[in-house]
Amino acid sequence: MTQTSTAAVLHAAGLAKRYGDKVVLSRVDLSLQPGEILVLLGENGAGKTTLMRLLAGELPADAGEVTVLGVDLNRRAEQARAQLVYVAQHPPLAPLCSLREHAQAMAGFRGLAPQWPAELVDLAAAFRLDRALDLPIRSLSGGMAHKAALCLAFLSRAPLILLDEPHTGLDVRSALALRDLICARRDQGTAFVLASHMAEATLAVATRAAVVAGGVLARQFEPADLAEFSGDARRFEQAVLQAMG
């Protein structure tokens, strides 16, 4: 997973982060091509969210570098961040504004295609949010607000989407819709990084996977490795557990 390519959507080399004396990440290298879906697995507190935030430019790294479509995330942060969307577990939505208003602002900021309103309606329908499009975010449940953030992430058409625990709080129907959307966008060339605990969901979408443990990517599953586990989530879970130590 350390191969470098100028065509890489995401490239990280030597990433390190510590909080005080605690080393959370050290020597993390990864690269992601268009249409690839990398799933990060690991125990709670292993550093998955920290790694996601480093990759999204939400957190400064102590060492290492990240480029998005060749743009250095540290030196040209705004330009690099324009190419990605990071959906955290608690995305910063404005409580008094509706999903449609958020989308309208995003359209202005990112210069979305003119057909974005229709696309928003389709996305909202997929997540069963079509009747909540004009409600303030504060009136939505936690799960619905999370789905609203996912709608916005897909609406953005960013080449790189980072999703932290995207299945948390989702009902079964929405989880299936999310899987279908990820696969559809993957086929269109969008690259994803997902942090997840769910092995079965991982196998359903991932093209590659990595286990975060001990501050490094303790084990990496390339496409051929994942193919071996196809349809056998239990065996995959055991392999992940073994990697976690």
Binding site: A77, E78, Q79, R81, A82, V85, Y86, P91, P92, L93, A94, P95, L96, C97, S98, R100, E101, H102, Q104, A105, M106, A107, G108, F109, R110, G111, L112, A113, P114, W116, P117, D134, L152, S156
Partner: protein, 433 residues
């Protein structure tokens, strides 16, 4: 009832503008050095006080602690609403705009240290006319610098960097344009507060009791010339930008996510949990919508302490100040309730019943800001060289009173603070006679 969403025009992704590096390092260093010197003067003046003047010490310390307020207000005025949300949605320039505005706030803060430090230093050792003249000249410069910094900051927002603020708007219009004036009401209060403070300082400075009249006259003449030159230069350089700046701020605050947050947000450097938690227990309670009364209480405390620090105020003086401020707040309340807030409350779905409390809250905020600034500014210009303050205050008041908005009809509700000072002057003269 939500306003219908406007169809956004497709627009290409704009490259981020480079706004940093607006200030040369040497300028910041010079300002920091000057501020340090003034701080030393201030400390020296405090050390020299007699214990019997403990109240005076407390008052001066409070004024010292409040030095950062103008910079804070400026930054709050210009901090885009819901910055994290806008950034998450893809807005590209808020960080750069914030950085540029932070530089202006630093200038404002540095220049604000000048008047207080010099005035207090003069209070301790101002017997010599030569020293008085020197200090007076410095004070004029500091006051002009303070006014210029404010003008430059607003001009920067509206002039060269206007495009950045248009980027912040996101290309969408949400809610009524009437909401915008509500959002920068605190800053209007800040600027309005300069007017009575300047008038008061001019009146105090013109008193013949400050020393032999030839000395007073010479100082006043010198400061008048110097102040006029400096203010004129600052004004000519920045007035157009300031007009555009106020409009740009209005635009930025009237667009996405503005209406949900009727008052400005804390600037990012202050919105850090430990700092926020500590400050909210004190002054910053006033910025919370839940505690508007505490803000007014603090404003009253500082403002009235500043007035009380003068020598011989009577009950009539207090009454004059109170009536002026009260009239001003009441007039503004009615104005808001009749026009602006009702529209906003209706748009937010709160109905017209939500308009009057919101109007009261905002008027209190505005009145409190004016009073607070009045107090602080009157601290800073008590002894000498008030004319520069007067000129800058009047100039700012003139702009704000209606010319830049072309609304001369709105003059009258905004004369309250000036009337407060006039009544103070009248009653003082009455008492003296």
């Amino acid at each position: 009832m939500l306003a219908p969403a406007r169809q956004s025009e497709p627009k290409p992704a704009a490259p981020p503008r480079q706004l940093s590096g607006a200030l040369p390092v040497w300028l910041l260093l010079a300002l920091a050095t000057a501020s340090a010197v003034l701080g030393a003067l201030l400390a020296n003046s405090l050390i020299g006080l007699q214990p019997v003047r403990a109240a005076d010490v407390a008052f001066r310390l409070a004024a010292l602690a409040a030095l950062a307020l103008p910079a804070l207000q400026l930054q709050m005025l210009t901090t885009p609403k819901h910055g994290p949300t806008r950034r998450w949605l893809g807005e590209a320039s808020s960080q750069q705009v914030r950085s540029a505005l932070a530089d202006s706030a630093k200038i404002l803060l540095a220049t604000r240290a000048g008047p207080l430090g010099l005035a207090l230093a003069l209070a301790q050792g101002g017997e010599s006319p030569h020293l008085a003249l020197l200090v007076a000249s410095g004070q004029v410069g500091a006051w002009a610098g303070s006014a210029a910094a404010l003008l430059v900051a607003l001009g920067m927002v509206g002039g060269e960097r206007r495009q950045a603020f248009e980027l912040l708007s996101g290309g969408g219009v949400f809610g009524p344009a009437e909401a915008a004036p509500l959002l920068y009401a605190p800053a209007l209060g800040l600027l309005l507060g300069l007017v009575p403070a300047a008038l008061l300082s001019a009146w105090l400075g013109a008193r013949p009791s400050q020393g032999p009249w030839p000395v007073s006259a010479a100082i006043l003449a010198a400061t008048a010339v110097l102040g006029a030159v400096l203010v004129r230069r600052a004004w000519a350089a920045t007035v157009a930008g300031m007009h555009a700046g106020l409009r740009a701020v209005e635009l930025a605050h009237a667009t996405p996510f503005a209406q949900g947050q009727l008052l400005p947000e804390l600037p990012p450097w202050l919105d850090w949990p430990p700092v926020r938690d500590a400050l909210e227990r004190w002054y910053l309670l006033g910025w919370s919508r839940q505690h508007p009364a505490s803000h007014i209480a603090v404003a009253l405390l500082v403002g009235l302490a500043a007035v009380a620090a003068r020598d011989d105020l009577t009950a009539l003086n207090w009454l004059g100040v109170g009536l002026g401020i009260g009239w001003y707040a009441a007039a503004r309340t009615g104005e808001l309730a009749d026009s602006e807030v009702a529209t906003v409350a209706d748009w937010l779905g709160e109905g017209r019943h939500g308009a009057r409390p919101a109007a009261r809250r905002l008027a209190l905020q505005l009145g409190g800001q004016a009073l607070l600034t009045f107090g602080l500014a009157s601290v800073a210009t008590p002894f000498w060289a008030p004319l520069a303050g007067s000129l800058s205050g009047i100039a700012l008041g003139w702009v704000l009173a209606g010319r830049w908005r072309g609304a001369a009809a709105r003059w009258w509700p905004r004369l309250g603070p000036a009337l407060a000072v006039l009544s103070l002057a009248a009653t003082r003269n009455l008492g003296a006679s």
